[in-house]
Symmetry: C2
Subunit: 423 residues, 2 copies
């Protein structure tokens, strides 16, 4: 902490106090006021499309000059069509129910006290994320709908794009006579992050969203509450009682549908009883789709001529973010569960089986945010779950686990209504 | 972190792994099995009563020799009657519903996927607390009922008492052929705490329960998830529209019913319109009960002859833990809310009023875990709320806010049940 310059700490504290003041106004907005504001923000983002795209071209040119990969450039790119999409996401948020004010528990006590637990905004939420600029708009919109002021720290690769987006949003807030500090963008160096995650009392929650190194740094360095998101070393286990056609579809979809994201599968475990039938089929299919295969000895022997390389302990523990997969044979359901227990990041793990007791045991014993039974791991997603939006996928156990959306950006407050009760 | 001896870190990691193994068995116990185990533990604690009382006498003698205050000795003391009481608390837990397995949300998606969110144990919970040995039994019982293995670090003042209690509990677990590592006691030095709160991956949650310095040290030093508990700078605001008889009862009860605990009031704010009538009455009553009064100039002038000392900024910010109170006059409801916003620890704050809009505004704008309307602040308590037990009172916003009991010791897991869905 002491290595953060006084100027930086002062700047972050100023931002935190401005966010706190804004959050007090946001907390008191009605659903109708928030939805109107979201629709107006959407229009403002679309109206700023040319500016945002021009700023994005700066970022892209700098990235290309610095040797940024094509796939990262694609994640970073904002075309006019993508600007329209992110504006639409704000309009979609307006259509969702307001999480604030929901009564989550309540009771009248024997002494006549009426107690109720009500959802209220967190207050000030910090978000630290990497390249994709659509996250900037999503976070601002989710923040407004849940009544929170957002302090955003995007990746330096998207600095100009994020600045253009946030400028458009803040100008719109001002025009609407709402507090512009509902969304603030930090554009300083790494010290900004350090100051943000140690701003106790000023920031109620920090959500890091990005690679494992970013998340580790935030979790270890923070003294404010943090929700870990994202890292997914995801397993598919094909049980002895699996429907093997279904298992083939689920494995291929889980691995190849969008291999760069956190809910893509990284490891395949096959029960020994079906390995001889299933492995040649699935490995051939995976190899045809360009998947590099790391196989244990038993799986390699059943690869049906497909080239594999020996799987290492490191490979079992790796989230590849691409077309690679670790493959192994297990002798039992317990063996699969023990393997998953050892290597999973507890994001999503899947069993394919027609056997009820096996499914029940797997669901009970695999300690992950999402346990899939006979479904692709790609379904771990706020949109797929019907949340209408997503701010990340929590892999921790405190507060939120799995896809996080509006409700997860709130806390609760107890309101106790009496007529003079004393103890 | 680096200043923890290798031996200590190794010992804590061993404890963490043993707890993890135990937690896997606890997570699969049925409610009936857990309730039977709780009743058996209760009998074991009662059977060890003489041993526990003898150990407690050691602790008390050491404390008295070291100059421990009478009130702290009283908190530490375990008589045969108190042993019976803590055993009864275990039996009471057996009568409560099992939080594990509760379905908290669920839905069938358009594609036929059946998703449900189910309460599951956290896994391994660390608890760091100070003198009262009944917390040792409560924590063990709450842990068992919620399916968690507990790693306990009690205060050194209660070392012998806690060791005797945990020995009895562990022996009972073994006799029942349940894992004794469901409850472990750390008895090393301060390094044990440091190692525990940085044991990422081994400990799912740490709950510090004690004074502000303990909580600050844990929150700042930890890299595992933490729930802050307890510190309560609690306010009573007497509105211009208060029933002044009710306000008198609530103020006196909130301050004097049990002044050492966190839900006792520390500050009294009185609206200027009723100050002249109310202050002489309430200050006289408080003074008669031995409350030392810190008053602002306007309150002092209306003290009706009661001696007061000038209130300082420090006094407004102090949780006295005893018979002292800060008193001031405010000109408006907004003034009261602003004062509370500046000084409250956001534990519990109370308004006394017969005015509906005032109550509604206070409840909406005071950002505390519990907002009381016309009721003593002493009602912020898991037992009073009907939770049947309490592990602490959270003053943070993440995961749990206000009194914490069984549900707050659980997390959730999504189980997604499909028949071959892919994206």
């Amino acid at each position: 902490m002491s290595d953060v310059a006084e100027e930086t700490r002062h700047r972050i504290e100023t931002a935190g106090r401005a966010a706190r003041a804004a959050s007090k106004r946001l907390a008191l907005l009605s659903r109708a006021e928030k939805d109107t504001a979201l629709l107006t923000l959407a229009d403002a983002v679309e109206a700023a499309s040319a500016t945002i795209v021009a700023a994005n071209e700066e970022d892209l040119a700098r990235g290309a000059a610095g040797g940024m990969s094509e796939s990262l450039q694609d994640r970073l790119r904002m075309t006019p069509e993508r600007v329209t999409q992110v504006a639409q996401a704000l309009r979609d948020l307006a259509a969702l129910p307001d999480p604030v004010g929901e009564v989550t528990r309540g009771n009248t006590l024997a002494n006549g006290l009426q107690i109720k637990q009500v959802r209220v905004p967190m207050g000030v939420v910090g978000m630290i994320y990497e390249a994709r600029p659509n996250v900037t708009v999503d976070a601002a919109g989710l923040g407004l709908k849940s009544g929170n002021a957002m302090i955003l720290r995007g990746g330096s690769a998207a600095a100009a794009t994020n600045a253009a987006i946030v400028e458009a949003l803040r100008a719109s807030y001002e025009q609407q006579e709402l507090p512009a500090d509902a969304v603030q963008l930090l554009d300083g160096g790494h010290d900004d992050v350090t100051a943000l995650i140690t701003a106790r009392g000023l920031v109620d929650l920090v959500i890091p969203r990005g690679g494992a190194a970013l998340i580790e740094a935030v979790v270890t360095g923070s003294s404010v509450p943090v929700i870990e998101t994202g890292t997914g070393n995801v397993h598919v286990y094909v049980d002895r009682a699996a429907d093997l056609d279904m298992a083939l579809d689920i494995t291929v979809n889980s691995k190849t549908h969008r291999p760069s994201v956190c809910n893509a599968a990284e490891s395949l475990l096959v029960h020994a009883d079906v390995a001889e039938t299933f492995l040649p089929r699935v490995l051939t299919e995976l190899a045809e789709r360009g998947v590099v295969l790391h196989a244990d000895e038993r799986a390699a022997a059943l690869a049906g001529g497909v080239a594999t390389q020996p799987v290492t302990d490191e490979a079992w523990g790796t989230e590849f973010h691409g077309l690679e997969m670790s493959v192994g044979v297990v002798d039992s359901l317990d063996g699969a569960i023990a393997h998953i227990d050892g290597y999973s990041t507890h994001h999503t793990d899947c069993i394919v089986t027609e056997d009820r007791p096996a499914a029940r045991t797997f669901a009970a014993q695999v300690d992950s945010a999402v346990v899939m039974i006979n479904a692709s791991t790609r379904f771990t997603d706020g949109g797929e779950f019907g949340f209408g939006a997503e701010i990340g996928i929590s892999t921790q156990k405190l507060h939120a686990r799995g896809p996080m959306a509006l409700a997860e950006l709130t806390t609760t407050k107890w309101i106790v209504d009496g007529d003079g009760q004393i103890r």
